[in-house]
Protein backbone atom coordinates (compact mmCIF):
# COMPACT_ATOMS: atom_id res chain seq x y z
CA UNK A 1 0.00 0.00 0.00
CA UNK A 2 1.17 3.47 -0.87
CA UNK A 3 2.32 5.55 2.07
CA UNK A 4 -0.22 8.35 1.39
CA UNK A 5 -3.17 5.92 1.60
CA UNK A 6 -2.16 4.40 4.92
CA UNK A 7 -4.58 5.35 7.79
CA UNK A 8 -3.16 7.44 10.60
CA UNK A 9 -2.47 5.78 13.94
CA UNK A 10 -5.56 7.32 15.58
CA UNK A 11 -7.89 6.70 12.65
CA UNK A 12 -10.24 4.27 14.50
CA UNK A 13 -10.24 6.53 17.54
CA UNK A 14 -11.37 9.53 15.50
CA UNK A 15 -14.04 7.59 13.63
CA UNK A 16 -15.47 6.05 16.80
CA UNK A 17 -15.55 9.44 18.50
CA UNK A 18 -17.67 10.77 15.64
CA UNK A 19 -19.90 7.71 15.79
CA UNK A 20 -20.48 8.23 19.53
CA UNK A 21 -21.22 11.93 19.02
CA UNK A 22 -23.68 11.09 16.25
CA UNK A 23 -25.43 8.49 18.43
CA UNK A 24 -25.54 10.82 21.44
CA UNK A 25 -27.38 13.44 19.36
CA UNK A 26 -30.16 10.92 18.77
CA UNK A 27 -31.00 10.80 22.54
CA UNK A 28 -33.86 13.18 23.32
CA UNK A 29 -33.65 15.81 26.04
CA UNK A 30 -36.31 13.95 28.05
CA UNK A 31 -34.28 10.74 27.96
CA UNK A 32 -31.14 12.63 28.89
CA UNK A 33 -32.92 14.28 31.85
CA UNK A 34 -34.38 10.97 33.01
CA UNK A 35 -30.97 9.35 32.86
CA UNK A 36 -29.28 12.23 34.72
CA UNK A 37 -28.06 11.15 38.14
CA UNK A 38 -28.27 14.61 39.81
CA UNK A 39 -31.90 14.95 38.71
CA UNK A 40 -32.70 11.51 40.08
CA UNK A 41 -31.09 12.42 43.41
CA UNK A 42 -32.99 15.73 43.55
CA UNK A 43 -36.28 13.90 42.86
CA UNK A 44 -35.55 11.31 45.56
CA UNK A 45 -34.44 14.00 48.05
CA UNK A 46 -37.53 16.08 47.31
CA UNK A 47 -39.73 13.02 47.83
CA UNK A 48 -38.02 12.35 51.16
CA UNK A 49 -38.59 15.92 52.36
CA UNK A 50 -42.24 15.82 51.24
CA UNK A 51 -42.65 12.49 53.04
CA UNK A 52 -41.24 13.98 56.23
CA UNK A 53 -43.35 17.14 55.99
CA UNK A 54 -46.63 15.38 55.20
CA UNK A 55 -48.40 16.50 58.36
CA UNK A 56 -50.81 14.40 60.42
CA UNK A 57 -53.60 16.15 62.36
CA UNK A 58 -53.03 16.55 66.10
CA UNK A 59 -55.93 17.73 68.29
Amino acid sequence: MKKEYEPSADFVDKVMRRVYLHEARKVTLRERLLASRPIRYVLAGGGTVLGILSAAPVF
Partner: protein
Amino acid sequence: MAEKNAAPPPGKEEPRKKTLLREYIESIIWALVLALIIRTGVVQAFKIPSGSMEDTLLIGDHLLVNKFIYGIKIPFTDTRMLKVRDPQRGDVMVFEYPVNRSQDFIKRVIGVPGDEISGKDKVLYINGVPYQNPHEVHKDGRIEPGSNSPRDNFGPVKVPEGSYFMMGDNRDNSYDSRFWGFIKYSDIKGKAFIKYWSWDTDSWRVRWDRLGRWIE
Protein backbone atom coordinates in the same frame (compact mmCIF):
# COMPACT_ATOMS: atom_id res chain seq x y z
CA MET B 1 -3.11 -1.63 15.62
CA ALA B 2 -4.54 -2.60 18.97
CA GLU B 3 -8.29 -3.11 19.06
CA LYS B 4 -9.68 -0.97 21.88
CA ASN B 5 -13.25 -2.22 21.66
CA ALA B 6 -12.49 -5.90 21.59
CA ALA B 7 -14.67 -8.15 23.79
CA PRO B 8 -13.12 -8.92 27.19
CA PRO B 9 -11.50 -12.29 27.51
CA PRO B 10 -13.68 -15.11 28.85
CA GLY B 11 -13.99 -15.05 32.65
CA LYS B 12 -13.43 -11.28 32.79
CA GLU B 13 -16.87 -9.97 31.97
CA GLU B 14 -17.65 -6.25 32.13
CA PRO B 15 -19.62 -5.23 35.24
CA ARG B 16 -23.35 -5.17 34.36
CA LYS B 17 -24.79 -1.69 34.17
CA LYS B 18 -27.98 -1.11 36.18
CA THR B 19 -30.98 -0.29 34.07
CA LEU B 20 -32.51 3.14 34.46
CA LEU B 21 -35.70 1.62 35.83
CA ARG B 22 -33.78 -0.23 38.51
CA GLU B 23 -31.90 2.92 39.49
CA TYR B 24 -35.22 4.78 39.84
CA ILE B 25 -36.74 1.98 41.93
CA GLU B 26 -33.65 2.00 44.18
CA SER B 27 -33.91 5.79 44.58
CA ILE B 28 -37.59 5.54 45.54
CA ILE B 29 -36.88 2.77 48.07
CA TRP B 30 -34.04 4.81 49.61
CA ALA B 31 -36.31 7.88 49.81
CA LEU B 32 -39.06 5.85 51.53
CA VAL B 33 -36.66 4.21 54.00
CA LEU B 34 -34.98 7.53 54.83
CA ALA B 35 -38.32 9.33 55.31
CA LEU B 36 -39.56 6.49 57.53
CA ILE B 37 -36.42 6.48 59.69
CA ILE B 38 -36.48 10.28 60.07
CA ARG B 39 -40.22 10.35 60.90
CA THR B 40 -39.82 7.54 63.44
CA GLY B 41 -36.72 8.66 65.23
CA VAL B 42 -35.82 12.26 64.45
CA VAL B 43 -38.63 14.61 63.49
CA GLN B 44 -42.30 14.37 62.46
CA ALA B 45 -44.68 16.98 61.09
CA PHE B 46 -48.15 17.67 62.46
CA LYS B 47 -50.90 20.19 61.73
CA ILE B 48 -53.39 21.78 64.10
CA PRO B 49 -57.10 21.38 63.30
CA SER B 50 -58.52 22.52 66.69
CA GLY B 51 -58.23 25.52 68.99
CA SER B 52 -57.41 23.75 72.27
CA MET B 53 -53.85 25.14 72.33
CA GLU B 54 -54.70 28.73 71.40
CA ASP B 55 -53.01 31.19 71.47
CA THR B 56 -49.77 29.15 71.42
CA LEU B 57 -50.93 27.11 68.42
CA LEU B 58 -53.63 28.29 66.03
CA ILE B 59 -55.77 26.28 63.64
CA GLY B 60 -53.71 25.85 60.48
CA ASP B 61 -50.31 25.86 62.19
CA HIS B 62 -47.93 23.16 60.98
CA LEU B 63 -45.23 22.10 63.41
CA LEU B 64 -42.30 19.78 63.84
CA VAL B 65 -42.02 17.37 66.73
CA ASN B 66 -38.73 16.17 68.19
CA LYS B 67 -39.04 12.36 68.30
CA PHE B 68 -35.85 11.54 70.22
CA ILE B 69 -35.74 13.91 73.19
CA TYR B 70 -37.79 11.53 75.40
CA GLY B 71 -36.15 8.47 73.82
CA ILE B 72 -36.70 6.95 70.37
CA LYS B 73 -39.70 4.64 70.52
CA ILE B 74 -39.10 1.25 68.92
CA PRO B 75 -42.09 0.61 66.59
CA PHE B 76 -44.74 -1.86 67.84
CA THR B 77 -43.21 -1.90 71.35
CA ASP B 78 -43.26 0.31 74.46
CA THR B 79 -39.44 0.32 74.54
CA ARG B 80 -37.53 3.57 74.24
CA MET B 81 -33.82 4.13 73.74
CA LEU B 82 -31.30 7.00 73.84
CA LYS B 83 -33.40 9.26 76.07
CA VAL B 84 -32.10 12.83 76.37
CA ARG B 85 -34.35 13.85 79.28
CA ASP B 86 -37.72 13.25 80.95
CA PRO B 87 -40.77 15.42 80.14
CA GLN B 88 -40.86 18.59 82.21
CA ARG B 89 -43.71 20.82 83.29
CA GLY B 90 -44.35 23.33 80.50
CA ASP B 91 -43.28 21.08 77.60
CA VAL B 92 -45.73 20.99 74.68
CA MET B 93 -46.06 17.30 73.83
CA VAL B 94 -47.74 15.19 71.16
CA PHE B 95 -49.13 11.90 72.43
CA GLU B 96 -51.63 9.16 71.60
CA TYR B 97 -55.09 9.95 72.95
CA PRO B 98 -55.53 7.14 75.54
CA VAL B 99 -59.23 6.71 74.77
CA ASN B 100 -58.79 6.42 71.00
CA ARG B 101 -55.27 5.51 69.98
CA SER B 102 -55.81 6.35 66.34
CA GLN B 103 -55.86 10.04 67.30
CA ASP B 104 -52.94 12.18 68.38
CA PHE B 105 -53.35 15.03 70.87
CA ILE B 106 -51.11 17.99 71.62
CA LYS B 107 -51.18 19.56 75.09
CA ARG B 108 -48.86 21.08 77.66
CA VAL B 109 -47.38 19.04 80.52
CA ILE B 110 -48.85 20.33 83.78
CA GLY B 111 -48.30 17.47 86.20
CA VAL B 112 -45.25 15.21 86.38
CA PRO B 113 -45.08 11.99 88.46
CA GLY B 114 -45.70 12.66 92.15
CA ASP B 115 -47.48 16.00 91.68
CA GLU B 116 -50.86 16.68 93.23
CA ILE B 117 -53.07 18.71 90.86
CA SER B 118 -56.32 20.47 91.53
CA GLY B 119 -58.38 23.26 90.03
CA LYS B 120 -60.56 25.69 91.91
CA ASP B 121 -62.56 28.37 90.09
CA LYS B 122 -60.18 28.26 87.10
CA VAL B 123 -57.08 28.56 89.32
CA LEU B 124 -54.71 25.62 89.04
CA TYR B 125 -52.90 24.32 92.11
CA ILE B 126 -49.83 22.10 91.97
CA ASN B 127 -48.86 20.55 95.31
CA GLY B 128 -51.08 23.14 96.98
CA VAL B 129 -49.39 26.13 95.36
CA PRO B 130 -51.22 28.23 92.70
CA TYR B 131 -49.64 27.72 89.28
CA GLN B 132 -50.16 29.91 86.25
CA ASN B 133 -48.44 29.08 83.01
CA PRO B 134 -47.60 32.27 81.03
CA HIS B 135 -49.22 30.77 77.90
CA GLU B 136 -52.62 29.82 79.36
CA VAL B 137 -55.70 31.79 78.33
CA HIS B 138 -59.29 31.86 79.58
CA LYS B 139 -61.89 32.89 77.01
CA ASP B 140 -65.04 32.18 79.00
CA GLY B 141 -65.79 34.23 82.11
CA ARG B 142 -68.33 31.74 83.49
CA ILE B 143 -67.25 29.31 86.20
CA GLU B 144 -68.60 25.77 85.90
CA PRO B 145 -69.28 23.99 89.21
CA GLY B 146 -67.36 20.75 89.69
CA SER B 147 -70.63 18.78 89.70
CA ASN B 148 -71.30 19.93 86.10
CA SER B 149 -67.86 19.61 84.55
CA PRO B 150 -64.24 19.27 85.68
CA ARG B 151 -63.30 22.24 83.47
CA ASP B 152 -62.97 24.84 86.26
CA ASN B 153 -63.14 22.76 89.43
CA PHE B 154 -61.54 19.35 89.77
CA GLY B 155 -59.31 17.21 91.96
CA PRO B 156 -57.11 16.97 93.80
CA VAL B 157 -55.53 14.12 91.84
CA LYS B 158 -52.08 12.62 92.33
CA VAL B 159 -50.03 11.92 89.21
CA PRO B 160 -48.90 8.25 89.32
CA GLU B 161 -45.37 7.11 88.53
CA GLY B 162 -44.72 7.05 84.75
CA SER B 163 -47.76 9.23 84.01
CA TYR B 164 -48.38 12.87 83.12
CA PHE B 165 -51.26 15.34 83.51
CA MET B 166 -51.82 17.32 80.30
CA MET B 167 -53.78 20.52 79.69
CA GLY B 168 -54.47 22.72 76.67
CA ASP B 169 -53.45 26.39 76.83
CA ASN B 170 -57.00 27.41 75.85
CA ARG B 171 -58.21 26.31 79.27
CA ASP B 172 -61.93 26.92 78.70
CA ASN B 173 -62.00 25.10 75.37
CA SER B 174 -59.69 22.12 75.81
CA TYR B 175 -60.57 18.45 76.20
CA ASP B 176 -57.63 17.26 78.28
CA SER B 177 -56.53 15.33 81.38
CA ARG B 178 -59.24 17.05 83.45
CA PHE B 179 -61.77 15.00 81.47
CA TRP B 180 -60.04 11.72 80.57
CA GLY B 181 -57.17 11.33 83.05
CA PHE B 182 -53.42 10.82 82.74
CA ILE B 183 -51.26 9.74 79.85
CA LYS B 184 -48.54 7.12 80.18
CA TYR B 185 -44.90 7.65 79.24
CA SER B 186 -45.36 5.09 76.44
CA ASP B 187 -48.14 7.25 74.90
CA ILE B 188 -45.75 10.15 74.24
CA LYS B 189 -44.77 10.77 70.63
CA GLY B 190 -42.47 13.75 71.11
CA LYS B 191 -41.97 17.39 71.96
CA ALA B 192 -43.30 20.10 69.64
CA PHE B 193 -40.53 22.61 69.01
CA ILE B 194 -41.08 24.78 65.90
CA LYS B 195 -43.84 26.08 63.63
CA TYR B 196 -42.78 25.73 59.99
CA TRP B 197 -46.01 26.73 58.26
CA SER B 198 -49.21 28.51 59.19
CA TRP B 199 -52.27 28.85 57.00
CA ASP B 200 -55.25 30.96 58.05
CA THR B 201 -58.27 29.23 56.50
CA ASP B 202 -60.63 32.09 57.46
CA SER B 203 -58.82 34.86 55.64
CA TRP B 204 -57.14 32.48 53.15
CA ARG B 205 -53.61 33.72 53.72
CA VAL B 206 -50.27 32.66 55.15
CA ARG B 207 -49.47 33.87 58.68
CA TRP B 208 -45.89 34.85 57.80
CA ASP B 209 -45.17 36.18 61.30
CA ARG B 210 -45.60 32.67 62.80
CA LEU B 211 -43.25 30.80 60.47
CA GLY B 212 -40.04 29.57 62.06
CA ARG B 213 -41.18 30.45 65.59
CA TRP B 214 -40.12 28.21 68.46
CA ILE B 215 -42.89 26.65 70.52
CA GLU B 216 -42.41 27.55 74.16
